[in-house]
Subunit: 334 residues, 2 copies
Amino acid sequence: MKLTIQDIAKKAEVSKMTVSRVLSGKGHVKKETAERIQNIIRELNYEPNFIARSLSSKQSMILGVIIFKTPTSIIDEYVAQVFSGIVDNSEIQQYRIMVLPVDRDGGDENEYLKIARTNMLDGLIFIRSRINDPKLDALAKSGFPFVLVNFKKFSPHYNFVDTENYKGAVLAMEHLINRGYKKIVFLSGNLFETNARDRFKAYQDTLKKYDLEYNEGWVVPTEFDEDDAYLKTEQLLKCDHRPTAIFAASDYIAIGAMRRIREMGLTIPNDIAIIGFDDIELASHIQPKLTTVRQPLHELGQNAGQILLDIITGKRKGPVHKMLKTTLIERESC
Amino acid sequence: MKLTIQDIAKKAEVSKMTVSRVLSGKGHVKKETAERIQNIIRELNYEPNFIARSLSSKQSMILGVIIFKTPTSIIDEYVAQVFSGIVDNSEIQQYRIMVLPVDRDGGDENEYLKIARTNMLDGLIFIRSRINDPKLDALAKSGFPFVLVNFKKFSPHYNFVDTENYKGAVLAMEHLINRGYKKIVFLSGNLFETNARDRFKAYQDTLKKYDLEYNEGWVVPTEFDEDDAYLKTEQLLKCDHRPTAIFAASDYIAIGAMRRIREMGLTIPNDIAIIGFDDIELASHIQPKLTTVRQPLHELGQNAGQILLDIITGKRKGPVHKMLKTTLIERESC
DNA sequence: AATCATTATGTTACCGGTAACATATTTAAA
DNA sequence: TTTAAATATGTTACCGGTAACATAATGATT
């Protein structure tokens, strides 16, 4: 029923190896023969069987993207943008992208390794990994090609693309300080993400540098989502010295906090200022427009794809550690 | 180097067929033997080769999701939510999801068919197809399993999940009318999407039913995105009888229009009211909060996945045409 | 004890390509 | 003209599983 390479070969009166050569463009085939074969292929609408090719060549031409499941939609804007970046990379066109939703805490230590061992993938990209994920180390030991997005670990077994979170966070803090805000609190996001750690460090360092008050209670860990930030914001605003500004580790966190602030009858930025991080679409649409530090999410994805390809094809060997710039986007919230 | 079923078989002193039976759970294997094999599998961390399995069984256990490329991010919130729905379907867990970005107008007529013929996929889901896409018909003729999301075509060769766009649009229109708005214009979205057509029909019918003014110039075709709507809104507001309300065929369209309206110094809803469609995240965050008609995007995705599975496994045969409900979400914009 | 159904396991062939090696033909170089 | 290099094609084996059929062992039924 379905056409195989053998059918094409028979019709062209050659061996299937010659057809295979025409298909892959490797090896030598006489021009006329190649054209004859190509015409037959076109005429019969033959498409090679990807699976058979993969089995034989030991390359699936598929890249996997690991996305962690969340209680809500597993693809928020952050993931969507990074993902779009991966897909948009023109060199990646010959590869297919498979989405692999994974439970953060489920599965055994070899979960990623097992995914790699199924032979279905040539490489993996991780979006939003955490530093305490033991499954990652098991994979790293195996030598299977993978790249982490927005995760920093200067190890020879890890490839990553990250943004300059520390510098970006300093930008945010100095912006607040320049505007005269002194009592600055930090909604940290999940501190198992290296992003959050870097931003936290910058928060502390910058406060110290400018000789400003630092208070244990002023660092509030949250998840990287709106609802959790909404809940955690209340305690911040009720404490003794009410802060005058909030540095939120992400825009979603900032937006959750803003909702709570508004509900408490306070205004932004008059009663309390706020600055976010990421610059997602929402940031420029919300009222007041959110001042934030932009991460180039799309580029992050593009780079991750490119690095993975270079590693798979052997173009690059050593561990690749790439950092992209962050920029301050001034709007209305501070 | 890499472990194969043969290695397991040898170690367990059985044929590889017995191991295969243990892996698939099909056929009969003595309890003790099965346990012995399973222990060895666990001990050696063996993972079956997915590719080899696919070639032999003629099932890839992969579903493809066709997403159309756009000038901006290919995954907007609409796509992200539908996609999340597909992935979240618990029964789909045994399947993997592949993302296939496609140029709307590129490729030949058999583009989808060719994708199907690579044998890499067991079925396809299309997000945001258009009625004038000839590539779809070529695929339909082949009998390859596929499901369309948010696309309506009552043909025996098409399976789809759609929302009740017509009813939803009537809800929107009647809401405006009940509030006393009489001069209502329509930003239609792309009329090659059946969604837009249904909403357009409802717009016309409802105007007629309530005996309201209908004006050719009051229907403005747009793309389903913010920027295009922003551009097209100007002409609407400059025409002779300025409308008092806008029915936008999607939230992104509404948001683009709102931006333009605000820039022209008009206020919403006092000078002009607006209602959207979809209920994306932005709708409830923007100022004023956007009144809209909610489409259950996540459920749309879940259903699409389920229907596709049922078709692949033979649980359902005939064409599946499913409609989900839409609901009015009242907020501040009208 | 004989017969049949069920369970347990093995054998063989094949899925549809490509790698690796072999061979024939053509072209270039000595 | 001879020889080496490059081009053109074919042959064989194999990638790692599963389907289909065959056979052996066990259990149930008469």
